[in-house]
Assembly symmetry: C2
Homo-oligomer: 508 residues x 2
C-alpha cells in the first residue's frame, strides 16, 4: 500500500475515499492499485487536455496579434536579421581580430536600441551615440583630474564625482521635456561616465577601450538604423497621421449611428459594439504624444517632409478627445425609451438633433478623408455650416413652440441630447478649423475646383477589408457591417465602397 502511494503523483488531489481504501482488507490491494492507476491516468489526461487547450488558446491569440498588424511579425524578423548581421563581428575572423570582446557592445546596442518605429530607433540610437561620446570624454577628463590628487586621493575624488554627476543626471530625468526626448540619453550618460571613471586606472587603456566601444556602438547603431529604414519601415509619423484620421472617423461613425438610432428606433447589439469605437479615442493621448515625439526624429519620407507640423496633429487629437468626452456623455442616454407618442416639440428637437448628428458626422468624415489623402479639407465646410444652421433652426423652432399639454419629464432627456449635440457641433467646428490650419502648415494639395465641393464620390473610397470584432478571438468569422452604404471596419475604420447603398445600419 505504502509502496503504491509512493509512486502516486505528488499533486494528486487528496480524497476521503483514499483514506478509506488504505484501511481496507489486504486482499483488495491489487484492485485498489488498479483503481488508483486509472484515476491517476484520468488526472494526467485531464491535465494534458487543459495544457493543450491553454496552448491552443495562446497560439490563437498570438496568431490574431500577428494578423491584426502583420508589421509586428516583420518587426520580429527585422530584429533577428539585425542581430544576425551584427554577430558576424564574432563569426568572421578578420573582424573579430579587429574588435575582440568589444564586439559585445554591438550586440548589446542592437538588442537595446532596435524599436518598432523608425523614429523610436533613431531617437534611441542618437541618444546612445551622443551620450556615450560626451560621457566618455567627460569621464576621461575626470580621470585626468583625479590623477592630480595622487594614488590615495584618486578613488575619493572619483567616487565624489560619480556620486554628484549621477545624482544630478538622475534628477534631470524628472524634467518633463528631457524625460520625453532624452531619457535614454541621460541613462547612457550616467552608465558610460561611471564605467569610464570607475573601470580602470591607466588612461592609455581607457582610450583604446573607448575607441573600440564607440566604434562597435556605431556599427550596432548603424545596422539598426539601416535595417529599420530600408526593410519594411514603420514610420511613427505615418502612424500618428493615420491614428488622428481614424480617430475622427470613429467619432463620425458614432454620430452617424446615433442619427440612425434616432430614425429607426432599434439597433442590434453588433452595431452597438461597432459604435463603441470612439471609446479608444478617450485614452489615446499617450500614444499620440509618444508618436509625435518619435516622428520628430524621422527624416522626410513619402508624403511627409522633415519638419512636418506634428504638433498640429496633437492639437487635432486633443480636440477629438474633447469631442469623445461629449460623446461618452451622450452615450449615457437611451433615446429609444422615450419616443412613444412623441409630442410636437419632441419631434422638433429630435429632428434638429438628427441633423446636427448626421451633418457633424459627415463633416468629420470629410476631415478624416482630407487628412488621409492630404487634400484640401474645404469639402467639410458645407457640413459644418449645415450643422450650425440646424442649431439656429432649433432655437427658432423652440422660441415659437407652445408648451401646453407637454410631459416635462419626457422632454428632459431629448433636450439634454440636443444640448450635448450642440456642444459636439461646436467641437467639430474647432476640429475643422485646426484641420484647415494643418492643411496650411503641411501644404496639403488643393483639389481640382471642377469637382463639386461636396465630393460625394470621395466618401466611398478605400479597400474592402474583413472585420474581426473584439472578443471574437475564438472564432475566425469575418464580420462586415454596412453603415449607410459604407463598409466600416471597427478597428481601422476604413471607409469602403459598398455594393448597395442600403440606408439601414447593421447587415451582418
Amino acid at each position: 500500500m505504502a509502496a503504491t502511494n509512493k509512486w502516486m503523483p505528488t499533486s494528486f488531489n487528496f480524497h476521503p475515499t483514499r483514506l478509506a481504501m488504505e484501511i481496507d482488507e489486504p486482499a483488495a490491494t491489487q484492485k485498489n492499485a488498479q483503481l488508483l492507476l486509472a484515476r491517476g491516468w484520468g488526472w494526467l489526461k485531464g491535465l494534458l487536455g487543459k495544457c493543450m487547450n491553454k496552448a491552443v488558446k495562446v497560439a490563437k491569440s498570438t496568431k490574431k496579434l500577428g494578423q491584426d498588424d502583420p508589421r509586428r511579425v516583420i518587426h520580429s524578423l527585422k530584429v533577428g536579421l539585425a542581430l544576425t548581421l551584427v554577430s558576424l563581428l564574432y563569426y568572421w575572423r578578420p573582424l573579430y581580430d579587429g574588435f575582440g570582446v568589444s564586439g559585445m557592445w554591438a550586440v548589446l546596442t542592437v538588442v537595446v536600441v532596435f524599436e518598432f518605429t523608425v523614429g523610436a530607433t533613431l531617437s534611441k540610437t542618437l541618444n546612445r551615440g551622443f551620450a556615450t561620446f560626451f560621457a566618455g570624454a567627460l569621464g576621461l577628463g575626470a580621470q585626468h583630474l583625479a590623477c592630480l590628487f595622487g594614488d590615495r586621493g584618486q578613488p575619493i575624488v572619483l567616487g565624489t564625482l560619480v556620486f554628484l554627476l549621477t545624482a544630478a543626471s538622475s534628477f534631470t530625468r524628472f524634467i518633463p521635456r528631457i524625460k520625453a526626448r532624452y531619457d535614454y540619453g541621460v541613462l547612457i550618460f550616467i552608465l558610460t561616465f561611471s564605467l569610464v571613471t570607475v573601470s580602470g586606472y591607466r588612461i592609455e587603456e581607457i582610450l583604446q577601450l573607448a575607441h573600440q566601444r564607440f566604434s562597435t556602438i556605431l556599427i550596432g547603431g548603424a545596422t539598426c538604423i539601416l535595417v529599420s529604414i530600408f526593410v519594411c519601415p514603420v514610420w511613427a509619423g505615418e502612424d500618428l497621421h493615420k491614428l488622428i484620421a481614424s480617430n475622427l472617423e470613429k467619432l463620425a461613425n458614432y454620430l452617424e449611428g446615433f442619427g440612425g438610432e434616432n430614425i429607426e428606433g432599434v439597433v442590434s447589439d453588433d452595431d452597438k459594439k461597432l459604435l463603441q469605437g470612439y471609446k479608444s479615442v478617450l485614452n489615446s493621448k499617450s500614444t499620440e504624444e509618444s508618436s509625435a515625439n518619435f516622428a520628430r526624429w524621422e527624416p522626410g519620407h513619402g508624403r511627409f517632409q522633415f519638419r512636418h507640423p506634428w504638433k498640429q496633429y496633437l492639437k487635432i487629437g486633443g480636440l477629438a478627445r474633447k469631442c469623445a468626452y461629449h460623446i461618452e456623455a451622450l452615450n449615457g442616454y437611451d433615446i429609444n425609451s422615450h419616443i412613444q407618442e412623441p409630442s410636437e416639440i419632441q419631434n422638433k428637437i429630435r429632428e434638429s438633433s438628427k441633423k446636427m448628428s448626421s451633418e457633424s458626422s459627415k463633416a468629420l468624415k470629410e476631415l478624416a478623408l482630407a487628412i488621409k489623402t492630404m487634400a484640401d479639407p474645404s469639402a467639410a465646410n458645407p457640413h459644418v455650416e449645415n450643422s450650425k444652421t440646424a442649431i439656429n433652426d432649433l432655437k427658432t423652432a423652440l422660441k415659437a413652440a407652445t408648451l401646453e399639454n407637454v410631459d416635462v419629464l419626457a422632454i428632459i432627456p431629448i433636450a439634454s441630447v440636443a444640448s450635448i449635440l450642440i456642444e459636439i457641433t461646436r467641437c467639430v467646428e474647432k476640429i475643422s478649423e485646426s484641420v484647415h490650419e494643418l492643411a496650411d502648415l503641411a501644404h496639403f494639395k488643393s483639389v481640382d475646383p471642377s469637382v463639386s465641393p461636396e465630393k460625394p464620390l470621395l466618401l466611398h473610397r478605400g479597400t474592402v477589408k474583413p472585420v474581426l470584432l473584439e472578443g471574437d478571438s475564438d472564432s475566425d468569422d469575418h464580420v462586415v457591417i454596412t453603415v449607410h452604404g459604407n463598409y466600416v471596419d471597427s478597428r481601422e475604420n476604413e471607409v469602403t465602397q459598398a455594393p448597395n447603398t442600403a440606408k439601414r445600419l447593421g447587415q451582418v
Copy 2:
C-alpha cells in the same frame, strides 16, 4: 578694415550700415573700429543677459520640480549612493581581484535597474535576474548543441538559433500581458542569449564568465533593492492608493464648486482654475495601470499586505474617470448666463441639481477619506441616498409642474445640467459600491459605532499645505484657497482644517 572685420564674432548680425562703413574714407577707420567694438560688446552683453535669464528660468523650474515632490531629490541621491556602493567593487582591491572586469556588470545593473518606486525596481531586478539565468543556461545548451556540428557547422547552427529565438522573443513583447510585466525580462533574455551563444567558443571560459556575470548582477541588483527599500522607500502601491483617493476628491471639489456656482452666480477666475483639477483624472489611466503593475511586485509594507487588492483600485479609477467624462460635459455649460428672472420650473430643477451636486460631492469626499484612512466607507451612504432622493424629488416636481408662459430655450440648458447630474449621481453610486468592495477585500477597519455615521469632524483632517497653481512657475506666490471651510490643494487635494468655516468659494 579687413583686419578689424576678421576679429568680429562670426554670428554678428549683418547690417546695411556696415557695408556703408566699409566704403567710407580711411580717416574714419579708427572711429568705426571703436563703434564696431562697442556694438559687439553690446551684442555680447545681450547674449550673456539672455543666457543668464534662461539659466535662472531653468533653475527656478528645476527648484519647483524638487519642491513639488521632494522624493525626486531623495531618489537622485539614492541612485548616487547605490552607484557609489557598487563602485567599491573596483576601488577595493580584494573585491576587484575576485571579480575583475565583471564588476562592470554590477555598475551597469545599478544604472539600468534603479527606478523611482520599490515595485518598479523589484520588477526590473527580478526580470533581469531570472532572464539572465535562463538565457545563460539556454545559451550554454545551444553552444553544446552547435558543437556537435563540427567547426564549420557551428556558426551556421548558432546563427540560425539566434535568429529564430530573437525573432520569437521579440514577437512575444507585443503580447499585452507580457509587455506590461515582463517586457524588460524578454529584452534581457534576448541580450544574454545572443551574448552567450555568440561571444566565445570554449565552454569552460563561458561558464566562468557566466558565473562572474551572474554574481555581479546579483550584487548590483541586491544593492538596488536594499537601497530602494530601506532608504526613504517610495511605494508604487501607496502612490496608487493616494492617487485614487485624490482623484475622487478632485471630482468632489468640482461638484462642490458647481453647487456653489449655482447658488452665488459669480465665480472668480482663480476658483475656476481650482475647479479644473478634475481634468487630470481624464488622463490618469496609464499612470494608474503602471502603478498597479508595479504594486504587485512589492512586499507588504505599512498598511498594505502583500496581496492587497490592487485590481480593485483600477476599477474605482475607471469609474472615477467615467464620472470625470460626465463632468467634462457638464463643464461646457455656463449656467449663469441663463438665470435672469428664473421661472418656477427652472428654480425647481436648479434646486434639485444643487442638491445632487452637493450630496454627490459629500459622498465622494467621504469615500476619498475612507480610502485615505482605510476606514469603513459607510459614512458615504446617507449622502448617496440623499442624492438619489433628490432625483426622485425632481421627477415628482416635474410631473406636477405647469408649463404655461415658460421659455423653452431657457429650460434646455438647465435640463441638460440636471440630466448630466443624474448620470453623475449614478456614477457616484457605483463608485461607492466599489469602494465598499475594496473595504471588504482589504479589510478596512470599521469605525467606532459610537461616532455618528456622518462623521462631520473627520472631514477636517490633514495638514496645511501651500498651494502653487499650474502656470505660476515664474512667481513663488503661495495661493491658499478656502472652499466651504476646507483648504484644498489643487495638486494633492489634501482636505485640511480651516480657521473659519465660510460658506463662500474663493478667498484667495
